[in-house]
Point group: C4
Chain length 118, copies 4
């Protein structure tokens, strides 16, 4: 079956800048071809503080979900801080494919980067 249940990404970062309609952000892009809906749990790791755990998302079968990390809000109001290096662990109860991309608009023109997760 295509994909894996556990993925990691070591370079996460969102600056606090916006330009017009664009806002710096990262997205955890998921593809689910497993045959069942996938329940996803994301943990965010930092350099000098405890992880943020239990960010939940769903990716239905034969669907993609581009999870915007700048829009995550936990029940207690926790958000992923900006201007702060982080890393990600993405766990799923079904095998999925994960790719992470960053849009950065720190300067007038923006930059994009992406990589398949590990």
């Amino acid at each position: 079956m295509l994909g894996k249940n556990v993925w990691t990404i070591a370079d996460g970062y969102m600056s606090d800048t916006t330009k017009g309609e664009l806002v710096s952000h990262e997205a955890v892009c998921v593809l689910n071809l497993s045959g069942s809906d996938a329940n996803i749990n994301i943990t965010v790791f930092f350099e000098d503080r405890d992880p943020i755990r239990n960010i939940k998302a769903v990716c239905k079968n034969e669907r993609t979900n581009h999870i915007r990390l700048d829009k995550v809000v936990l029940d207690d109001g926790t958000v992923i801080p900006r201007n702060t290096p982080y890393a990600l662990l993405v766990e799923s109860d079904q095998p999925i494919i994960v790719q992470v991309s960053r849009l950065d608009v720190t300067q007038p023109e923006y930059a994009l980067m992406t990589t398949i997760a590990y």
Copy 2:
């Protein structure tokens, strides 16, 4: 034999912007070193609608094909929508190598990103 028959890419997106001669697009770049021509079938998955299936392409042996996703038109007129997150499944009857790249010209200067598919 070099390559695989099935590849996936989780982060697909084409904005609707153009700048001069450049238009935002993604390309599924294929290399075929299998010894036979490769018949390729691409499926496009979305967040909240059914997939677009049966996008056909050929990559001859010892050739590359940089398949422009913004130029795909199915027999019934279907095109891949812009400003819409998607993901890709690339299937081939011969082992191939697949890399996907995006050129985005949303702002005056453009951005590039690429990754080997999974």
Copy 3:
């Protein structure tokens, strides 16, 4: 256990340019989910000179460390030269995940690139 003890990256380069608060740099981004603190050793290889060895770093368990290569200074004052192609070997006593990213500000607007290490 997630990750590997040895990672390589073949394309390293830092230009000597800065723009406002941004300075061109590369970062070796590490995630450690091994259960123990990871002691990391980085070697830098060049095209026409001997390697720089024994760049040390630590990534604690359940933490990330985005190691800025432009800030590395060895005890004898050695730094990684700018405007010079290099490659990296990252070795750890615990399995880790490594991704390397570059921020380049050679021109007024900057560019980003990233890839999972090998």
Copy 4:
């Protein structure tokens, strides 16, 4: 031993544009930790013409070689054409690590992309 003897990259492209001191180009970045010098042979594949074969390079042991594809000239004067999609096969008599990066300066500000080869 670290690395592989055969690598491929499916998305190759060099525009014919320059800006100031920067020229659009791609580089095949090699790291050799095999213990012996590596003799490298690069083949360039196109969409609609025969491959360019026998581009030779050397990467010494414990050295990197960032092979600039825009500077390749074969004995018969052949160069890799610009504004033309291509793909690459990189073969080595020693295991090596290969990463390919593109600098594009089609517009006033440039873009960077990179990926580990397959």
